[in-house]
């Protein structure tokens, strides 16, 4: 009986099988690489803004407190974006003629708000609350990074659920004393393991695992 398959069929079959596996793995790798790349996550990608506002200048050089502009960070879910009026408390005196600030002056004059590009954005089915994180001892820089070194603002974390859960599983690793909340260069002390647990106890942080319940953030 004659051979049905030629000798080269063996090679073809092996190449196809191996090639298919490689293709699937490769596609997976590419997808994952894109998923985690700054292209998708926007991590470390500065966004253009209608006014090139610099946290580096205002926080780093001038030493303005976070809460001067983000007024509701301690009492509401939303930290608050400063109203034009807040910008103008200083800029009605300083740099009153600066061309860069023209949109701010126009906003006040025409009663039209400034339209910023949102840097840190969660999906609409996630309900994050700033006030409770501040109250429990999570500082600004834990999520927002060293803002006083950002000329234009960028995202320092992916804000993916995996990243949220890292902290919700073990909050004690990220808690700091209330005096350090607004310190953008706070580093965990060598004994953070014990300090964190002490803070968690003091701030009544739930370590039972309830923080990883879906209902904590999704509703």
């Amino acid at each position: 009986m004659a051979q049905i398959f030629s000798r080269s069929a063996n090679v073809h079959a092996k190449v196809i099988i191996v090639g298919f596996v490689l293709l699937v793995c490769g596609a997976g790798w590419v997808t994952s690489a894109v998923f985690w790349s700054p292209y998708t996550t926007y991590v470390d990608v500065p966004l253009n803004q209608p006014v090139p506002f610099s946290h580096k200048h205002h926080v780093g050089d001038d030493g303005i407190d976070c809460r001067y502009c983000h007024t509701s960070v301690e009492k509401s879910s939303f930290a608050g974006i400063p109203s034009t009026q807040i910008c103008m408390t200083c800029h009605s005196q300083l740099w009153t003629e600066a061309p860069l600030l023209q949109p701010v002056r126009a906003s006040l004059a025409n009663n039209r708000p400034l339209c910023w590009n949102r840097v840190n954005d969660l999906p609409d089915f996630v309900y994050f609350n700033h006030s409770i994180h501040i109250s429990k001892g999570v500082g600004c820089s834990t999520c927002h990074g060293e803002l006083d070194r950002m000329p234009l603002t960028w995202r320092t974390q992916t804000l993916y659920m995996k990243w949220c859960l890292e902290c919700h599983r073990a909050p004690q690793n990220h808690l700091r004393p209330q005096s350090e909340i607004y310190n953008l260069h706070w580093q965990p002390p060598p004994d953070q393991a014990t300090q964190g647990l002490r803070l968690a106890h003091q701030n009544q942080v739930d370590l039972s695992g309830r923080l990883t319940n879906c209902s904590t953030c999704h509703r």
Binding site: K75, L108, C115, P123, S215, H218
Partner: protein, 963 residues
């Protein structure tokens, strides 16, 4: 163990066990509900599916878009972004005020709740107050001033108005007429008086399709004090400006938690058509509306009032006798009341009964009517019609209302209107009346402008705006002011001027702010004109043969003013559970005689007029009567309400606004397919409902709990310790005994939880989305059944059957016992819904939130995810409220207090039938309730361990009565 339970049935089909019903029962959704019905071949469909799958896969690769974030230019001091602000205001029911507290999120009203400090609200709201919110954002609202079919301007209108008014100056305004609905607003009354001073010969007329003019003053009832209540054709728990207060007091008289010292009021109701009120009666008598007068007379004779008495139908004998016995046994602790649909003579008899029993001034107090210058509406309208026909009217201002649609048909309002030289209509929407007017002035919604209202008991509330007018609306105060002075003042100035005069205080500003924030204030200055004595509407036609025709306000649409409100259109009507339609309600006996089935069209012939209407056979309807609900058949309502149902006003004459004899019917060869939810989510052969009598309960307190054997805590394959964690354990108790079945929870949940409306075709397919439904069960014969209402939200089972079958863990129980639905995980297999024994899960078959207009998007609650297509959803116990209370508590380093969290359904409930709280706290109210012997878990025998539990319903029948 198992007490013999009466058979509970939800529909006549179920009682008769028809094959159609059986086949419906065995399918979770009706046949074809999950299938695409378009003419698309399977192969084309698969091809498209393949393409969309590929595209969907690619779609997932798109990254998050950069969104805009927009701060204020000048942030108001009291605004904290992300935190709602609450304002006290008032909504109106038929012109009477009901206090509300409105939630505002960044300047956007998102929820209406009752005002605890307001005597006509007590913290609850009606279904209409909930739906008012959707009216604000209705894209069909009148947006611009229109002149004829063209756009107009306020300036242009004022020019024409001034020309007309200057022509009237010489004859003291003899050609000017003002037509309003019921007015309780002190400011409007002041303005009308001012208007009358400027134009002494002008006339003010009133027309309300649902008049309340049968008594001279206002009776205030205290149902909490009453031991015996006898209602004659009165829907005091639902269609009444004080219904919320009545329901609260009524529930107080019916609430039983322990067998020791258990007492309940006894409630007798006689009515022609089942109402929310009548369905709560211990003894309900279905009787024609024309027989009510004789029943009142017979009752009067039996309790010892001077008078002849009267013959009553044989079926009513026992009822009248028993009611009279109970009333005589409880002097000073009874209430007899008649509905506004009964003529003044009946009210006069009822007043005598109450007086002779010593109820007056004890359980019933009287006060002056809060409605100003009340005139008998049909008489007032008749005068206007005569003037219009005679050509005496040069300028007619219609301030709200829709007389072309709802005025008595014999008046031919539309025909008379054409004779008026200048016709101006002011209203929230373009309607049948405004189409025939020269000018249509868009009204501001009550959440957009200043006004004031008075409640039934006279309490006044300032209506304060929460949002700038969305469109070019003009307030009624501003419009009327333009008749008197120009330029007209703003609504704020007009309202404040009235209150300043009322106050007369030197510190008015401070007082004003307090009244605004309280939302209720006594009103010292009463109505200027004394109430005219009521008179019978018509020369009473001698009873003629034939059937009785009965007109009633629709339980959802009222007189049609809510016709374009999709929440109310999709709210199942009580008993029939019909959505999006009205039906001619007939009794089972009449249907049997005339061989009618549900959906058959009949031709109603009455006084020479004919109307075609589809039939619904309603158990409990009085035998030879047909009830027609007003409010449907609108020709110009908007895209939601136009051409829904039939227009009962086409048979309603000024001589018989509410009921009359002489109706004949003829079956037509046409059928209507109703979208009724009556049999949706029915469960075969399982007792969801438990009921008994007060006497049984006192004899055997644990009767309800022992009807079924419930597995013990440790009888489970799972870790029994799993839910014994510390922390909160949320649970709900629903008291079937106090629940009156008013539907308010359903619509409050819809408003709170961004629940979409799906439309009639989708309801027919079983796809309605309400998270809490009211099941209505009947027992005994269809001619005179007992009614049982049961609100059914998610049970939040601790051993939840839905969780076991979800392949992606999109439904899980959290540490506090909440059965969660995680939208972002859900892939839409619907296995959970299949496996849910309570059928409380709802699936987004289509993108119901996809086609919202920009204004409709504003109604959404920002704290709740808006679900999209392919996602399962269900009651969350208002998780957003739990979380917001938790964060508030944790910021203060304390536990959540009992009563701090109130889900939307519990908050709106006028009877306080729903209690929510933490069962790990033995002191909490809900823990106490769960210890009651009446408490039972629905289908707990399946070992689902529901966190929602029920109180068995108790009735308090008169043992001496056979039925």
């Amino acid at each position: 163990m198992n007490n013999p339970q009466p058979k509970y049935w939800r529909s006549l089909e179920e009682l008769a066990a028809t094959p159609q019903f059986e086949s419906w029962l065995h399918r979770e959704f009706p046949r074809g509900a999950s299938e695409w019905s378009d003419a698309l071949h399977r192969r084309d469909f698969l091809r498209l599916m393949g393409a969309s799958l590929a595209l969907a896969g690619l779609g997932a690769c798109t990254k998050q878009r950069i969104e805009k974030i927009v701060p204020y230019v000048n942030q108001p001091e009291e605004v904290v972004p992300g935190k709602p602000i609450y304002f006290a205001s008032a909504t109106s029911f038929g012109g009477y005020g009901q206090g509300i507290v409105v939630t505002s999120n960044e300047g956007r009203p998102t929820k209406i709740e009752g005002n605890r400090d307001h005597p006509a609200s007590l913290g609850a709201t009606t279904v209409w107050a909930q739906a008012d919110l959707l009216d604000l954002y209705d894209p069909d609202r009148a947006k611009i001033i229109t002149q004829g079919s063209a756009g107009g301007t306020w300036g242009g209108f004022l020019d024409q108005l001034n020309a007309a008014l200057s022509g009237q100056a010489a004859n003291l305004g003899a050609g000017i007429r003002l037509l309003t609905q019921t007015v309780t607003s002190p400011t409007l009354a002041t303005q009308v008086r001012e208007f009358g001073r400027k134009f002494p010969r002008a006339n003010w007329h009133q027309w309300d399709a649902l008049p309340r003019d049968t008594t001279a003053g206002e009776n205030l009832y205290d149902f909490a004090k009453a031991k015996v209540i006898v209602a004659l054709d009165s829907d005091f728990l639902y269609l009444h400006p004080a219904a919320l207060r009545h329901a609260r007091d009524f529930a107080a008289g019916r609430r039983v938690e322990a067998a020791k010292g258990a007492a309940m009021s006894r409630f007798y109701a006689a009515e022609p058509t089942p109402t929310i009120t009548g369905s709560n009666a211990d003894h309900r008598l279905p009787v024609a509306a024309r027989d009510i007068a004789n029943i009142a007379l017979a009752l009067a004779a039996l309790v010892g009032v001077e008078g002849a008495g009267a013959d009553v139908p044989p079926s009513a004998n026992e009822w009248v006798w028993a009611a009279a016995q109970d009333l005589r046994a409880n002097p000073g602790a009874g209430i007899v009341l008649a509905g506004e649909t009964q003529p003044p003579e009946v009210h006069a008899v009822v007043a005598k009964i109450n007086a002779s029993l010593g109820n007056t001034a004890v359980t019933i107090t009287s006060c002056a009517s809060a409605a100003l210058h009340p005139v008998e509406p049909t008489r007032s309208l008749r005068k206007l019609i005569d003037d219009m026909r005679g050509g005496a009217v040069d300028l007619l201002l219609i301030l709200g209302g829709n007389p072309v649609y709802d005025a008595p048909v014999d008046f031919d309002f539309a025909g008379a209107l054409q004779k008026v030289k200048l016709r101006v209509h002011h209203g929230l929407r373009v309607n049948e009346t405004s189409r025939l007017c020269h000018w249509q002035i868009p009204a501001t919604h009550f959440l957009e402008s200043w006004s004031d209202l008075r409640a039934v008991d006279g309490t006044a509330t300032i209506v304060q705006p929460l949002i700038e007018p969305l469109y070019d609306g003009v307030s009624r105060h501003e419009l009327l002011d333009a008749f008197v002075r120009q330029p007209p003042r703003s609504a704020f100035e007009i309202v404040q001027a009235t209150w300043k005069q009322e106050s007369g205080s030197a510190v008015f500003e401070k007082e004003w702010r307090k009244i605004l924030s309280d939302g209720a204030a006594p009103w010292r200055a009463g109505g200027e004109s004394p109430n005219p004595a009521p008179s019978s509407a018509a020369t009473r036609a001698a009873p003629r043969g034939g059937l009785e025709i009965i007109f009633r306000a629709d339980p959802n649409m009222l007189d049609g003013r809510y016709a374009n409100n999709a929440w109310l259109q999709e709210l199942p009507h009580p008993f029939s559970k019909i959505t999006w339609d009205n039906a001619a309600l007939v009794s089972p006996a009449l249907a049997g005689r005339e061989r009618l089935e549900n959906g058959d069209y009949i031709e109603l012939s009455y006084r020479g007029r004919k109307l075609g209407a589809p039939v619904w056979i309603l158990p409990g309807q009085a035998e030879n009567t047909i009830t027609l609900h007003l409010g449907y058949g609108r020709q110009e309502a908007g895209r939601v309400g136009t051409n829904k149902g039939y227009n009962a006003c086409r048979l309603r004459t000024s001589e018989a606004l509410w009921h009359d004899s002489g109706l004949t019917i003829r079956k037509l060869p046409r059928r209507e397919k109703f979208a009724t939810t009556q049999n949706h989510f029915t469960i075969e052969g399982r007792d969801m409902y438990r009921a008994g009598t007060l006497a049984e309960f006192i004899r055997h307190p644990r009767f309800a709990a022992e009807m079924r054997e419930v597995p013990k805590e440790d009888e489970t394959l799972y870790n029994p310790e799993e839910f014994k964690k510390r922390g909160y354990a949320w649970a709900m108790a629903i008291d079937l005994n106090t629940c009156i079945g008013c539907n308010a929870c359903t619509i409050a949940c819809q408003a709170e939880n961004n629940i979409p409306v799906v439309g009639k075709a989708q309801v027919i397919a079983g796809r309605e989305m309400h998270w809490i439904r009211i099941d209505t069960y009947h027992t005994e014969s269809p001619d005179n059944p007992r009614f049982h209402h049961q609100p059914v939200p998610c049970m939040h089972c601790q051993d939840a059957p839905c969780e076991l079958v979800c392949p992606v863990a999109a439904t899980v129980t959290d540490d506090e016992g909440l059965n969660l639905q995680v939208y972002n995980r859900c892939v839409g297999t619907r296995y959970c819904s299949n496996n849910c024994p309570y059928k409380v899960r709802r699936f987004n078959f289509l993108e119901y939130n996809g086609a919202l207009s920009p204004s409709e998007k504003l109604v959404k609650n920002p704290d709740v995810t808006v679900r999209s297509r392919g996602v399962m959803e269900k009651c969350t116990y208002c998780l957003q409220r739990i979380n917001s209370a938790r964060i508030a508590a944790e910021l203060e380093r304390r536990k959540i207090r009992d009563g701090e969290i109130t889900p939307a359904c519990a908050q709106v409930c006028p009877a306080e039938a729903i209690t929510f709280g933490d069962i790990h706290d033995p002191q909490s109210r809900v823990s106490g309730l769960k210890r009651s012997p009446l408490n039972y878990g629905m289908l707990a025998e399946l070992n689902t361990r529901p966190r929602t539990s029920y109180f068995a319903k108790l009735r308090n029948p008169n043992e001496a009565m056979k039925s």
